[in-house]
Structure formats: C-alpha cells, structure tokens
C-alpha cells in the first residue's frame, strides 16, 4: 500500500514537473462555444487540453455531472485532430468512463472568405450512458438521460459523424453555423442536428497592460443547438433544442475558463443545465517533445 502511494506520488511529481516545464501561451479570442465549432483551428504544433463538464438534473432522473477531456492538436494550419475521453457520474448510481471520440477538422480553402467552410469527420465509440451533450441530433430527448447507468452502459454506439462548419468573422463578431449528420454504424438511420453561435469580445483593442479582470479578456456570445430528426422521421417532433449564453475568460498563465447555462426550448429538452470549460495550451509541443521543426516560409 505504501509502495503504491509512493509510486503515485512520484507519478504526480513527474506530471507536475512536465506541466510546469512546458511553455504556456495565450489562447486569446478562442471562442467560448461548447457545441458549435467556428473555423478557428489549433495552431500547428500546439496541443490544447480542455475539460468540458455538464451538470444537470433531468426532471425524472438523478442529478449528474459529465466530463469530457479534450486533447486538441494542430497537425497543420489547415488540419486539427482531437481526442475526447468521456465520463460521467450520476447521483445514487455510479461513475463511468463512457467512451472516446476521435475527430478531425479540415479547412479545404487556404484563404479567408466571407464564409469559411471546415469539414469535420468524427468516429465515436461511446456507451448510451454518455451525458456530455456535446451535440444534439435526431430525436435526442431528456428522457434518454433518465436511463440508469447499469442499463445504459451496456449499449455501445459506434458512430460516424460528419459536420459542415461554416464560419465568418465580421467586424470582430464571429458567426458560426454547423450542420450535423450522424450515423450509427449499426442498423440505424442518419440523424441530423444543427448548432449556431455568435460571439464578440467585450473590448476589441488591447490596453497594452497585463491584466486579469479587464474587458479585453472576456468574450461573450450565444449559441443555439438542437436535433432535426432522422431519415426515418425527418421532423421536429420529439426533438430537443437549447439556447445557451456563453462567456469566456482568458486567465493569467494563459489559461481559459468558459461558462454557459443551457436553457431547454421544447418539452423534450432538459429545462436547464450548466457547462464549465477549462483549457490550457502547450505551445510548439512537437518541437519540444519530439524535436520536429516546422517549416515556415520567409517573406
């Protein structure tokens, strides 16, 4: 027992050392969206680690807290790849690891346009007990979250997901629209969903001084998302829709905090739930850890 504690202590010390020895950098103006994607990709060579939690109490179920840990890596300036590890804990039931998602986002056009498309491809292997609500598709409803963990964990979903992300930066506003189609690789219909969002920094120009509680460190916005039915029932009947104010705060030491209360808009939706996100970014990680030098171009 003592030996195990010693090993854990050494592992914790190693991780802490690794953590403080890597250079942090700012993620200023990252959008505080939880569901919607903009056309911002991770900078090449950087790794962002973000936790996104969802806390709720469904009307007929137990309160729960779900946590998605996201590892986002900028493989190229036009390609970002991400791994999500999902889990949840439900009051009076259990704590579960619910699966993983691997997603890739590509910018097919190399220039900035009025509307910028990004192609999104995801594979997910999660159980029906997942409660992160990172997207709402098809006829996802509140009662899905009432199923006891012991039952829901037995149902595994292998799903492919495609998104068309359209995003614009106009006069310091970001406006993003996502069109989602998801397919369970078993015998199940294609499911559809949407997410739209806008955000704006509270102050556009930098004050030129280091500060924490100043307007330029905050970005606020609004996102809306929901299901659009599936190929067996392409209707809005029994679909969930949410409206969610979002706020992001750039913290000292180049960390970022975001918060969003989500409000259900239909009877099939949860009345409300809350999300908190915390992110930090390791810069130039492939150079620091693997010794890869990225090629630039001299102008």
């Amino acid at each position: 027992m003592l030996l195990l504690a010693s090993h854990r202590l050494r592992l914790a010390a190693f991780l802490l050392l690794l953590f403080v020895s890597l250079p942090f950098r700012g993620t200023a103006q990252d959008k505080p969206y939880f569901v919607t994607y903009s056309h911002d990709l991770e900078e090449p060579g950087n790794l962002e680690v973000e936790t996104k939690s969802a806390i709720a109490r469904p009307e007929h179920g137990h309160h729960f807290g779900a946590l998605a840990t996201e590892l986002e890596y900028g493989a190229r300036a036009w390609w970002t790849t991400e791994l999500y590890l999902d889990g949840q804990t439900t009051g009076g039931q259990s704590t579960l690891f619910t699966g993983f998602r691997w997603e890739n986002r590509f910018r097919p056009l190399m220039h900035e346009y009025a509307v910028n498309p990004v192609l999104y491809v995801e594979f997910e292997n999660i159980s029906a007990a997942d409660k992160n609500v990172l997207e709402v598709v098809g006829h996802d409803v509140e009662s899905d979250l009432d199923v006891p963990n012991a039952v829901a964990r037995a149902e595994h979903q292998h799903e492919g997901e495609l998104k068309l992300i359209l995003s614009s930066n106009v006069h310091d506003w970001n406006i993003s629209e996502n069109f989602i189609s998801e397919k369970n690789l078993g015998h199940a219909p294609w499911e559809f969903g949407y997410a739209v969002a806008v955000a704006h920094p509270l102050r556009a120009a930098s004050s030129g001084r280091e500060c924490t509680l100043c307007a330029e460190k905050f970005i606020a916005g609004l996102e809306a998302y929901g299901g659009l039915g599936d190929t067996w029932d392409l209707s809005l009947r029994q679909t969930s829709h949410y409206l969610a104010p979002v706020v992001g705060w750039q913290l000292p030491a180049h960390m970022r905090l975001s918060f969003s209360p989500s409000l259900g808009m239909t009877r099939s939706s949860m009345d409300q739930f809350y999300r908190v996100g915390f992110a930090y970014e390791f810069s130039d990680i492939d150079n620091k850890l693997l010794g890869h030098k990225r090629k630039g171009k001299v102008w």
Partner: protein
C-alpha cells in the same frame, strides 16, 4: 501554323512563370486592402499594446526579436516586410498562409491586428 502553336504555348507559359517568379508576395493583396492605412498608427500606446500581443501570439514562431531562427522560422525584419504597406500586413495577418504553417489571425479583433503591425513598424 500547327508547328507554331506549341511554341506559342511554351512562350506564354515561360512568360507566366517569369512573371510569377518576379512578382512580389504582396502583389496578390487586393488594391483596396493594399491602400489601407493603420488607423491606430502614431499613438505610442499602440506599439506598446502591439508588443504585448506579439509576445502572446507571434513570438512562438518569429522569436522575441522578430528575427525568426534563421532557418525554418521566418524573420519579420526583412526588406519585404518593411516594404509592405500597413494594409498588406493587415491583409496577410487576416489571411494567414495555411499551406506554409502561418495561421489566419482573423479571430483576433481588427484593432489588435493593427496594434501588432504598429509594433512591427516600431522595430529598429
């Protein structure tokens, strides 16, 4: 006539290649952007704010002195950058050069892009 056609195509292609080789990178900047001036220029605090933003966003690739690393990470203290207009630089920051690893900074507020440019102009 038939024999002359390939020669004409060859000449046209060669001329095109010559033009491409001699064209400045900034020639691709739209005229409207090229002509823009920095609305925040001339204020000392603009360059100070730009220095802070440079440290946050640009230093990782272009080094603290904006000289790059002399190899893979490009210098910003070149004749090409000095010869560009403020509008050229703002356009380039907004566009990025995704093929060569330069991200688009369109996600920064426009005022902050101008502040970075003011800082670059302040470098000796």
């Amino acid at each position: 006539m038939v024999k002359r056609f390939p020669a004409a195509v060859f000449l046209a292609l060669s001329f095109g290649a010559f033009l491409a080789a001699t064209a400045s990178h900034w020639d691709t900047v739209p005229a409207r952007d090229h002509a823009r001036t920095n609305p925040l220029a001339g204020k000392p605090e603009t360059a100070v704010a730009g220095a802070l933003l440079y440290r946050e966003h640009c230093q990782q690739c272009h080094a603290a002195d904006a000289q790059g690393d002399g190899q893979k990470k490009p210098s910003l203290r070149t004749a090409s950058v000095r010869g560009a207009t403020d509008g050229d630089l703002e356009w380039f920051l907004r566009q990025g050069d995704l093929k060569h690893g330069m991200p688009s900074w369109s996600n920064l507020p426009q005022a902050q892009r101008w502040q970075i440019i003011a800082y670059l102009r302040s470098l000796p």
